[in-house]
Amino acid sequence: MSVRTEERPLLPVFRFGRVSVLWRLRNVVVVGLLLAVAVLACAVHLSLGGTSIDLLAVLRTMFGDAPDFKTELAVTEFRMPRTTAAVVSGAALAMAGALTQTIARNPLASPDVLGVTAGASLGAVGVLVLAGGGAGGLSGAAALLGMPAAAFIGGLVAGIAVFLLAYRASVDGYRIVLVGLGVSWLATSLVTWMLTLGDVTNAAQALTWMTGSLNAEEWALVGPLAVAAIALTVAAGLLSRPLSLTAFGDATAVGLGASITRIRVVALLAATLLASLATVIAGPLGFVALAAPQIARLLVRSPTPPFAASALVGALIVVLADLLTARLFPIPLPAGIGTAIIGVPYLVWLLVRMQRRTA
């Protein structure tokens, strides 16, 4: 046997001691570009508002070099919470989508389909309608935290219910989607029923929240949730490698030594937490979790949704949607309408393409 040392590496790999990480050039380039575009979009998002701030001043403030105190206050205290909420909710939803689509091996799977978003809506609307939300019945911390907590619990309960109903000795991707649709519809019906129960002001407030709104974001609420969402997003990124094994189908994955049921349970739990968190921050923003991972996959041309690129695409979609609806439209609209405007054409395209392939 001859020693071959000058050979081209079989796969691009980064090695440091015993640590070795595979990478794809296209993934690295796409993530780099998306990061730059996302930073720019955030700067535009921050600069537009009641009075617009110079874009360069905003960029300098973002990187810790504010030109003056007034700009710093306006950017970091008044506008940053909303921008952060958009970025974090978008990234968290996209991550939740990437996780569920990988588990279900189906590009149509997302937390919207898995009942998490509907469950979170049910929790939030339940508090708004039955307890009066922040308007009357509750006050102070309870008003600030009551609705988010209820949304969180609602999303979690729906996610766990779907999981338990779909669990039969193992976790099957298609069964999860079917059960998820059922639970989703049940929660949506209950929300509609609740809206008819409460008084008109509360119902109107609930409806606005349900379209997905980034109005009235404050650090007190956004800060802790953002930290939690970022931590979860990074943790979920570590699942990327073991999860990609499940894309080979159960028998092959088991043959390669993957504990598929454990991986799926952990990933579903992470997806549920991420989607609930995002829903708490920004309301049930539609289509982000569905579209972002697939857009990222098309950009990177990878076999399964690439996690980092998905999170960035998700953040970008929500920031752009909020720019579109809140700043560029004559009448400010909730961001959920913007994500729908961006997401629906994509969904239609996806369905048409799938139809063509099966026809």
Binding site: L10, R18, F248, V254, L256, R301
Partner: protein
């Protein structure tokens, strides 16, 4: 005969429908064993049970004396590999990336492709003749190339025992022979124990060192190909009237079908 992989009183069922019941089965060390049997006889199910893809309803499968359910699945994967019937690769995955996945059971969480892995993967690709296809997406390969790639992954997994479920499905005769010669090399050159399910009795007899015939979830014959492939067995198990010829290379039995036996096949 020794056997590291053994089933005792193994019962396997799908949603209450029992396919294999109370079966004792030894996977003979150092042999290439082919399981034959009519459709629905439980041969693929048995392979799934032995490869822990299906959990037994009753009984146990042991590897080196320990029940599979007690050994961490990753540790099992470093000793026993399995290739399901027509495995699927996610779209866009390249040949080299697929073969590199075979290293998974040997890697720690911070290792994706160490220097050692690279050498083993490269050798596995050369041994299976897919080295020139390294950067090709798996879905663009022909059936024969694809199956060689999957076998390459199995080779890179470096397990002593290899389970293969109908590795020649959907291949034309020349490519079936190509894959079976590769499996024979796994045995002869790399010393692997192979257990495979095959449909073609003549090819099974040609390329295996042991054969097992199954019917209705039970083993009805086992031993050397000459002992198993007989006119009586073909009539009993496959309901087939056939003449047994001798192929010229090794003198192994070759099935020449003459017609259905009096009853005809069940299904």
């Amino acid at each position: 005969m020794t056997a590291r992989l053994q089933a005792r009183g193994l019962t396997l069922s799908y949603d209450g429908r029992v396919v294999v019941e109370g079966l004792d089965f030894d996977v003979a060390d150092g042999e290439v064993t082919a399981i034959i049997g009519p459709n629905g006889c439980g041969k693929s199910t048995l392979l799934k049970g032995l490869g822990r893809v299906m959990a037994p309803t009753a009984g146990t499968v042991t590897l080196d004396g320990a029940p599979l359910s007690r050994i961490p699945t990753r540790r099992i994967a470093s000793r026993l590999s399995l290739l399901p019937q027509s495995p699927e690769a996610p779209a866009g995955l390249t040949v080299a990336e697929l073969v590199a996945r075979g290293r998974h059971p040997h890697q720690r969480w911070f290792e994706q492709f160490g220097r050692g892995d690279e050498g083993i993967v490269r050798e596995a690709m050369i041994a299976t003749g897919v080295a020139d296809l390294a950067d090709m997406p798996v879905e663009e390969l022909s059936g024969g190339q694809r199956q060689r790639t999957w076998l390459s992954m199995t080779l890179a997994q470096q397990t002593d025992i290899v389970l293969l479920d109908e590795p020649t499905t959907y291949l034309d005769l020349a490519h079936q022979v190509e894959v079976l010669e590769l499996i024979r090399d796994l045995h002869l050159l790399h010393g692997r124990t192979v257990l495979m399910v095959l449909h073609d009795i003549s090819l099974a007899a040609r390329y295996s060192t042991r054969m097992v015939a199954m019917n209705s979830g039970r083993v009805v014959a086992s031993g050397a190909p000459e002992e198993v492939v007989t006119e009586g067995l073909l009539a009993d198990v496959f309901e087939l009237r056939a003449a047994i010829l001798r192929e010229p290379a090794l003198g192994r039995p070759h099935v020449m079908p003459l017609g259905l036996s009096a009853h005809g096949p069940d299904d």
